[in-house]
Amino acid sequence: MTARDTSADRASGPPPEAPPERPPPGGSGRWDQPSAGWMLPGTTPDSRGRTLVLEAAARLLFPTVLVFSLYLLLEGHYGPGGGFSGGLVAGLAFVLRHIAGSEDPGAPFGIRPPVIAGTGLVIAVLTALAPVVAGDPVLSSTKWYLPLGPFGQVDVVSSLILDVGVYLLIIGVVLDLLRSLGSGIARDARAAGEHLPPGTAGGDR
């Protein structure tokens, strides 16, 4: 908020140090890498860009938050939640992974974000069209009762499938944002000679 900051920012050119080298993909594992590939993606930046606390927290939180998002998805019909909220929570889990150092947080799952989002939309549209096969109007819903033996029975509403579509689509959209606005911009910056560790806000260092 002072004139000093402004001038410093305007004068900021490419930093003297070279961009950090990325470890060769598929190279020999590092001692601190998790054995399960999905827990934290392989390419974490070396040295300066790393915050070990955040990485550890992300490792612990990521699966937990995903489970919570599934809970929100299933709970949606009875309380706050639903596909939209669940998908956003899951998306935020991926955001955490990204900030903790992953270039491409969806990569270990081997599915590209547009495919996830498209699958979601396809599921939603098919759910909408499915009743037509049975002769009902588009988007009409039904309720199934699944007997689970000694555990009683579970009511499943067909609109839950639509919610699953929304859930997947939102995850896909968030991953796509991370891919484009997150890694994409970071890579643009690197190509321009600026050093931007993933997850930092420019000009606020």
């Binding site: 009875y78 639903g82 819903s141 919610d163 796509d176 994409g184 420019g202």
Partner: protein
């Protein structure tokens, strides 16, 4: 009937695969289906000529949408062209494209698609159904004319055809909706009945006139009437079978069919028959005149088609019985003579490598078969006995002789003049293609039977139809039944026949043909064309297109200047100008405003206000984003206090995600906004705009909430039905059950946004992972500028 249309579209889906296996087999399958359609239609002859065969499938009953098809005399006449001539052209195309052509798989599938949509169009008995098929034919023709898009000429012709016919089609949609609103139905029989009874919007003549004018615009553009005609000659860039099919037999007839379909209802309205007749007359003469100048045989025929379409428009637009009889006869005749002529030109093109009449020489002597065939078809075009064209032309003269009066006399004079030109360009065609003009004879390859056979069949059909005039009369009479004979007993009894004896009509025929031959012999057209170059409508089209581009550049150049304040300012200005004015005019401030409902609202509200105020003082982007986040979280807090956990949850999550996205983008932006000491001239408008926008939104929130006193009436059924939808959470039930269509729409928008963002950011850079064969390692090439990427972009 719907099944037949669907069969076409289904077959079209299979054809590319079939064509990869064998090109000719694919065209053969298409020809077989089209021929079967013709046979199927002819088996229903007597029913179609009587009450008509109808079929209605409900599509969206709540919107008044239904797929209504009806086979009557007019549809039957068009099916003879669309399916009958179409089948012959498919056979012709099999030989024209040859067994190895790259364009064949695409063209075969598209031709069958086109036949299916055209079939739907002529069978449509409901204006909306008609419109759907109408636009489908435009799209199919775009793809056919454009071919693979490899040649600039094809692309340009296709774009022009699409722009002209679809903009006419959109005008027509407006007219259809307007007419549907006036008459309360889209069904053509009901509209016709209302028009006859005089109950069609008697108190709103202006709206009716506008509706009819707009619908006519569609018909006139599609059928290439002046001044929309240039797209048709330009579309001759397409391969010959496609020209023959689209521009002789089917697509350009769509406008004529529309005029013929609605003619019985509206021919009595001046707003209908005046433009149709006047433009039809002008088109007939202008097209014939322009045909006399062409040196490319195909373009000569194309301008001839323009002329004939004008003729057909006049016949169907005037709404008298005899003119309608003549119209049906000419409709059939035109398809049966223009298609073989096009096919002959294609054969000449293949055999001689040119279709320029200045270069062709001595073909008549060496390819006698082609010459006889062409003469047969050309006789019909010029209106000579015993061809169907003669029968139609006689009837046309007779119609306006019987009508008499000023209109009849004027139209008759134009028709005779137009026929004279027709005879002249017919002579020019035959002379140009087959005469011996120079010393260097051209061509000589024999024409394969696959190319000449279909043309022979088509031309002979025109001859046979001339002798079978009573059958054509039966068909035409069924169409003309509802039309008035204009009080003339002679007109009420007139029938199509090959020989009516010597009379004024025959005399006029003789005058037209003899005059045409003389005109061709005299060589006057050439010198006149040089002295008085006709105004080119093509230049008009180009001026419109360039003008649009210029306007677009001027507008974007002034508005899209890359300044966020300007964009936001524009949006806010529109918001203040439109809803703001309405708010000031119509809004009423509710009187019972409470300061707060619960005490907890006070601190949260204060936080929001403080954050918003601080935002205006922020100099750093990051601070500003955080403050926006604070406002958002505060609003989420207000949702919690008011008991809307669902909304609050969504608000918090979206706010967080937005914040993250902002932070990502901020890395590439300067840390600070523009210099704090920017001048008053910059700041003052910003302050005013922002303040107005903010005040407006706040005012709207208060006024609109005051407009509602009780829970909206839709809420109660939602609450009552929620358990049935399996949800105790009403919000969720609304989102995924009651209003699920909205949800699908919204997530589609989200997907488009994400795809757009990714496209913008990643457009020039993406990873290409390749496995290096030598080392077995994965090599990643990133970003723009790698050779693979350049290749990908440049093709």
């Amino acid at each position: 009937m719907l099944a037949v249309v669907a069969a076409h579209l289904g077959l079209a889906l299979c054809l590319p695969a079939l064509a990869r296996y064998d090109r000719r087999l694919a065209f053969g399958a298409g020809a077989a289906l089209l021929a079967a359609t013709l046979v199927w239609a002819l088996t229903q002859w007597s029913e179609a000529l009587g009450p008509g065969v109808t079929e209605v499938v409900a599509w969206a009953p709540e919107l008044g949408l239904s797929l209504s098809l009806r086979m009557d005399a007019l549809a039957l006449a068009m099916i003879v062209l669309v399916s009958g001539v179409g089948a012959l052209i498919m056979v012709y195309a099999a030989w024209y494209f040859g067994p190895r052509s790259r364009d064949a798989p695409r063209s075969a599938a598209l031709l069958v698609t086109f036949a299916g949509t055209m079939l739907g169009l002529v069978l449509a008995d409901d204006l909306l159904t008609l419109y759907v098929f109408w636009e489908l034919t435009s799209l199919a023709s775009f793809l056919l004319v454009g071919q693979g898009g490899r040649y600039r000429e094809n692309r340009r012709a296709a774009v022009q055809a699409l722009v002209v016919t679809v903009s006419g089609g959109l005008a027509m949609l407006l007219g259809i909706v307007l007419l549907g609103g006036l008459s309360g139905t889209y069904a053509i029989p009901e509209i016709t009945a209302a028009a006859h009874a005089g109950t069609l919007a008697p108190d709103r003549p202006l709206a009716l006139a506008a509706a009819l004018g707009l619908i006519l615009l569609g018909a006139l553009t599609k059928s290439a009437q002046v001044p929309f005609h240039p797209w048709l000659p330009y579309a001759m860039a397409a391969p010959t079978p496609i020209s023959a099919y689209l521009h002789a037999a089917s697509m350009v007839k769509a406008g004529v069919v529309l005029v013929a379909r609605l003619g019985p209802a509206f021919a009595a309205f001046g707003v209908w028959w005046v433009p149709v007749t006047v433009l039809g007359c002008v088109t007939m003469v202008l097209g014939g005149w322009r045909a006399l100048r062409q040196t490319d045989l195909k373009r000569l025929l194309a301008f001839g088609t323009v002329s004939q379409l004008g003729f057909l428009m006049v016949l169907f637009g005037t709404g008298s019985r005899v003119a309608a009889l003549a119209g049906i006869a000419m409709l059939l005749a035109h398809g049966l003579f223009k298609a073989p002529l096009f096919m002959v030109v294609g054969a000449i093109d293949k055999a001689c490598g040119t279709r320029d009449l200045r270069e062709l020489c001595g073909l008549g002597r060496r390819r006698r078969g082609l010459a006889v065939l062409s003469t047969l078809a050309a006789l019909s075009m010029a209106g000579l006995p015993p061809m169907l064209g003669f029968v139609g032309k006689e009837a046309a003269y007779e119609a306006f002789l019987l009508e008499g009066g000023v209109r009849g006399g004027l139209v008759l004079a134009v028709l005779v003049g137009g026929s004279l030109l027709t005879a002249a360009y017919t002579a020019r065609f035959l002379w140009g293609a087959f005469s011996t003009k120079g010393s260097q004879p051209t061509g000589g390859d024999p024409v394969p039977p696959g190319l000449s056979g279909p043309a022979w069949l088509c031309a002979l059909a025109g001859l046979a139809a001339g002798f079978a005039a009573p059958t054509v009369q039966e068909l035409a009479a069924a169409y003309a039944r509802p039309l008035p004979a204009l009080g003339d007993p002679g007109a009420a009894q007139y029938t199509l026949a090959l020989w009516h004896g010597v009379g004024p009509a025959l005399l006029l025929s003789v005058v037209a043909v003899a005059g045409g031959l003389l005109l061709h012999r005299s060589g006057i057209p050439g010198s006149l064309h040089v002295r008085f170059p006709a105004p080119s409508a093509q230049r008009g089209y180009e001026a419109v297109v360039t003008g649009l581009e210029r306007t677009a550049i001027a507008v974007t150049g002034r508005l899209q200047i890359g300044s966020l304040p300007v964009y936001l300012g524009c949006i806010l200005a529109v918001l203040v100008a439109l809803p703001g004015t309405m708010l000031l005019v119509g809004g009423a401030m509710p009187g019972n405003q409470q300061l707060f409902h619960s005490v907890m609202q006070v601190p949260v509200g204060l936080m929001v206000v403080v954050a918003a105020l601080a935002l205006t003082r922020a100099r750093r982007r990051f601070t500003a984003v955080l403050l926006v986040g604070a406002v958002g979280y505060g609003i989420g807090g207000l949702f919690v206090i008011d008991g809307a956990p669902d909304l609050a949850l969504a608000q918090f999550l979206v706010e967080t995600l937005t914040l993250v996205a902002f932070v990502f983008v901020l890395r590439r932006l300067p840390a600070h906004f523009a210099e704090p000491d920017a001048g008053r001239r910059v700041r003052a408008p910003k302050v005013v705009t922002a303040a107005c926008g903010g005040l407006l939104v706040a005012g709207m929130a208060v006024v609109l909430s005051g407009a509602r006193t009780l829970p909206p009436s839709t809420t109660a059924p939602f609450v009552a039905n929620a358990p049935e939808a399996g949800a105790t959470n009403l919000i969720s039930a609304i989102l995924v059950d009651f209003r699920a269509l909205d949800t699908i729409g919204e997530i589609t928008v989200l997907l488009i946004c994400a795809a757009g963002t990714a496209g913008l950011v990643l457009a020039t850079r993406y990873d290409r992972r390749t496995d290096d064969a030598r080392t077995g390692e994965t090599v990643v090439n990133s970003g723009a500028g790698v050779p693979e990427h350049e290749k990908e972009v440049l093709g």
